[in-house]
Symmetry: C2
Subunit: 335 residues, 2 copies
Amino acid sequence: MSERALCVIGLGLIGGSLLRAAEGAGWKVRGTATSEADVTAAREAGFDVMSSIEDVLADADDDALVVLAVPLPAVVDVLAAVAQHAPHCRLTDVVSVKQPVAAAVERLAPSARYVGGHPMAGTSASGWAAGSATLFRGAPWVVGSDDGADPVVWTQVAQLALDCGAHVVPADAADHDAAVARISHLPHLLAAVLASVGADGGPLAMALSAGSFTDGTRVAASRPDLVRAMCEGNRSALLEAVDDALGRLGAARGSLASTGALEATIRAGHLARRSFDAARGAARDDTVPINDTVPINDTVPIDLTTAGALTRLRELGQQGGRVIALHHTRCQVLL
Amino acid sequence: MSERALCVIGLGLIGGSLLRAAEGAGWKVRGTATSEADVTAAREAGFDVMSSIEDVLADADDDALVVLAVPLPAVVDVLAAVAQHAPHCRLTDVVSVKQPVAAAVERLAPSARYVGGHPMAGTSASGWAAGSATLFRGAPWVVGSDDGADPVVWTQVAQLALDCGAHVVPADAADHDAAVARISHLPHLLAAVLASVGADGGPLAMALSAGSFTDGTRVAASRPDLVRAMCEGNRSALLEAVDDALGRLGAARGSLASTGALEATIRAGHLARRSFDAARGAARDDTVPINDTVPINDTVPIDLTTAGALTRLRELGQQGGRVIALHHTRCQVLL
């Protein structure tokens, strides 16, 4: 068994970038895709790419970490192949929701040693050609830290993320899905709503629009099928986030209609954005040269093989902590 | 009387940029401000700036176009001074709502020959130091085309906008306010709501946030008092836009909860944003070298002194048209 062998299924923007980044970091990589164009392009770039998922999964039970890098609607078919050809493999994924993938693994490939993952990186482009070995640099990469996660697989997934230049955010599937509903899926939905409300104003409104409208609707230009798959796949968490937004917007509406004041809404949003900027600025400062410059005293050491390690990792993740280094089963978490 | 004399009251970002741009285009400019720092800085830059509004308004009845370049809450005090020192002056403004300013002029300075204006340009910075002679280049500049507008004053305000490098969008006060509610005030409100909903997700959500959240909340970083003045000053139009957004977001919520589908919302938003991009791209192509390259056959000539001219200008503005050249009282409108 090789701990640094990787088998990537799906070679679009994320899978294709992963193949490049992992090879650059010394992993032995192979892959497959259903898109003939992606297969051809990846082969021409010199990668070991097979046309059939059976071939790429051969021996994967023993020798590779398997990565599901397909959109959520395609996960079921890939898992059926995994169950048939590599039922006990080490398995992760890069899909943007975690509970539906975990449920599908439980149902279709229950013997796989699965630890979910989600690199928070992307562009509005798609396909192998849009990928890059540097896509994940400085990005957060969620590694599933649900109770019962296999420490060996967890460590390998986390090491893969670190090797790609990302930093590892530990979270369980439910916490992940609740967080991305608020900071990714709701923003896509609000962008769609704003674009439609603006268009309802006709050509005059469009002619007058400036930065606030352009920025607020940018992601409405993304591929609708991908946005739908992401948002609809996270239904219950997104409903909660939408209800929060509806409540806040409804309160602003009531205040504007009755007293004419929007102070509470605008002040709260301003403070939230300013503290986001402050935290983001602080995080950026110490992201790049992280292993060299962070004194060991500022980090929390956690041994994954001890009792309560996953609980502690999740707690630190909820507080904004991230894993910045691994030594066998020991994590250094920066908070 | 000099047709190219300008008297700017308020020397912040917009007023200060206007002083610079108009002087660069050959206008004889003078100004005043209540901020001592702005007065000093403008004087040091060589401009004819007075400390008192009485002094700057002396002889303005006869010799200058007066510009109100103060935030909405300060308009009342400035109009009282105008009524006292230059009651019959030619008057315009650069405030981000038009109906409240028109109502205040009607009440406080009813003899002024007022034509409203609104250059759609700005940055998140403020004050004289943030201004620039190039701020208005390529920007839409609404010129109030309500029934009864004085053709002489309308032409001067439009010429000022063209001289500053802007293009003139004709609209009446109500249409202007309805449009900016949708493409400026609602985006600010949604950004505030989204920032708060994201922050409710705690440090984990903030750690995972990427481009969709960053873009969608950018304008929540703007000065809350300015955002409030702008949004609260456009109460009834903003209520309509908020209701449109609440209706669309509520419909998405209902669809997600019942069938699980977001197709209608996401598809409509995507189409709206794509046609916005297409229109914006087309507009940008012919904005810069406009007077030289647009064949006269592609424009609509309108003589402001003929009956129905303002109605026709408003219709063209509603269709996305803009005035790109003036010859005395004749406008060339590009549609």
